[in-house]
Symmetry: C2
Subunit: 337 residues, 2 copies
């Protein structure tokens, strides 16, 4: 139900400082997955999908369009119609009554529509198409890195309802924020401490250890390595790192985009063979803006398949329970024909 005077704020937990975006407009999002099973098929037709070619009028105007071999475009970047952050926040004076305990939710929120066709996962793209999508990610990261208001860009993909997707047409999202969020800050801190102590990137050291150990390796090529995280939070959690040290995804070359696309499709294909239907979050971890060359950070993807629910134990401790050992998960993924 729509709310009058929707509230749109960044709030901070009064005890532990956790950040929460209150974004009431998002409650109005369309949702392919709320429909009953019988009618879900309808939502996947071109006519009903706002992301399909021909329905461009149902999204905001493109910020960027990239042509493919066929059709009017292959990738469209559009503002998220239901953003969690904005560079044009509502004026505080528009709020009735006493002030609410938040501040304007500064940032930008974009959607990458990754194909004009109604496809559901990256394995339905050609390798060249996926490489092109990755280069558009790199481009928008680069664009926002030049904006003085922005400190961190987060790029992520949600596939499937258990992973929080509301539309099934293949897409990804970018959120640019004026501060470095807790997850990235913790990695930077660990990377800084390790580099100070050992003179080496902590991720480079981890990659060397995983290659030497071998039990958690899933797939690799000349430029990238995929392995199951030794302390994976969910079954089959997989990290993908460039072999060479690069702090920022901005440093992705055209050749690398092709290698990365091939490896991502390989890994997702293996996961699809183990988990049906496959739902996952794919999250790019890259250095804050202006830190593209630091020695203590190493960009990577964290791929989190979503087959188990977080429960009270996880919410109350910050610990996770994973019922499948990463070594066994990796062996199963390696065994996929």
């Amino acid at each position: 139900m729509p709310n009058e005077n929707p509230i749109f704020e960044l709030r901070t937990d009064p005890i532990v400082g956790r950040r929460v975006l209150i974004a009431e407009d998002r409650a109005g999002r369309p949702n392919d997955f709320l429909a009953p099973e019988a009618s879900r098929e309808d939502a996947s037709t071109v006519a009903d999908c706002p992301f399909c070619a021909g329905n461009e009028s149902r999204t905001p105007e493109s910020l960027l369009e990239v042509a493919g071999e066929t059709g009017p475009w292959q990738v469209r970047v559009v503002p998220n119609k239901y953003p969690a952050v904005t560079l044009d926040p509502p004026l505080a004076s528009s709020r009735p009554g006493t002030p609410l305990p938040g501040i304007p939710p500064l940032g930008t929120h974009e959607v990458f529509i990754e194909s004009p066709r109604h496809v559901r996962d990256i394995t339905e793209l050609s390798a060249a198409e996926l490489a092109r999508v990755l280069r558009v990610h790199r481009q928008r990261l680069h664009d926002w890195s030049a904006d003085e208001r922005i400190r961190q860009v987060i790029i992520f993909k949600n596939v499937g309802n258990p992973a929080g997707a509301s539309l099934e047409h293949l897409h990804s999202q970018l959120v640019a924020l004026p501060e470095v969020p807790a997850v990235i800050a913790a990695e930077l801190q660990a990377g800084h401490e390790y580099h100070s102590a050992h003179g080496e990137c902590i991720f480079c050291a981890l990659l060397r250890d995983e290659l030497a150990d071998g039990r958690r390796l899933v797939a690799s090529n000349d430029s990238f390595v995929a392995f199951c995280a030794s302390a994976g939070r969910q079954p089959y959690e997989t990290w993908i790192l460039p072999r060479e040290h690069y702090a920022s995804f901005e440093q992705l070359t055209i050749e690398d985009s092709e290698s990365l696309a091939a490896l991502l499709q390989d890994v997702i294909g293996r996961l699809q063979a183990q988990l049906t239907p496959l739902a996952y979050n794919l999250i790019l971890h890259t250095s804050p803006t202006g830190q593209a060359d630091v020695a203590h950070y190493h960009w990577h993807f964290e791929l989190v398949p979503r087959s188990t629910q977080l429960a009270g134990f996880e919410w109350g401790t910050g610990m996770h329970i994973n019922p499948l050992a990463p070594e066994r998960a990796a062996a199963r993924l390696r065994d996929v024909a």
Copy 2:
């Protein structure tokens, strides 16, 4: 599928230090919710439920049984048949090949079966029955607090499949750990800093502010107050605090258990009127063992209804997006007849 040589370890993320329990035996848990809708009703009959009276042989032997007005028992405490931690860890030498990157997952994991009847939520208990359950929670917290191996006791309840429950018969769980987990440690740190600066408990200050502000209040009685958290992570996230300063749930009196039971039933009833079906996690936050009297911590419940999925943004940042303002959520809960 059962695994040979199931792996059972506490692991630490090599970058940020996050703790993960690898507990492969848990993959074999029974699950009421995996059955198709049509046959789910069958799983809720007494014959099929391991927690119903008459089926005691399908659980491990009771650690504690409490009699009710009728029947052989009202509350049973049993070891979790699929524990995430254990005080009898498998010997490291039983692991084949090179060592895995974990240590024994020390702790204990218990289940509270809260009724001999096949009930699904606390609103189906009498207030006296729920008060008795809360006193059994207090008793087990007290028991484990005397064990030198234990530093922190976590007690939580998962209701509904979206909240991670695998069985619908009303139950809760206790996990006792040899270390203070990250979520509680962050609260203790914040409480310590605030008390050092202001000479007051940070939770007492928050409670005073919420009572004065009033917009997020849900319900209260002489001893307890329920309000929507100002930076709630999910719609309708509600915290319940004792009005008086108590660091540990061990300090719960018989009279308090009755007040608390009444308020919990009131709040859950209001949530059931807004969210159907209601799925939630209810998590007790209490001080570490041996710190029952500290001035800088205040026990409380965090009640997290589960109506939206965590997605890539949350996994990649540690921030949350909540599409319902806590002020509006509280107003709706207050309005329930």
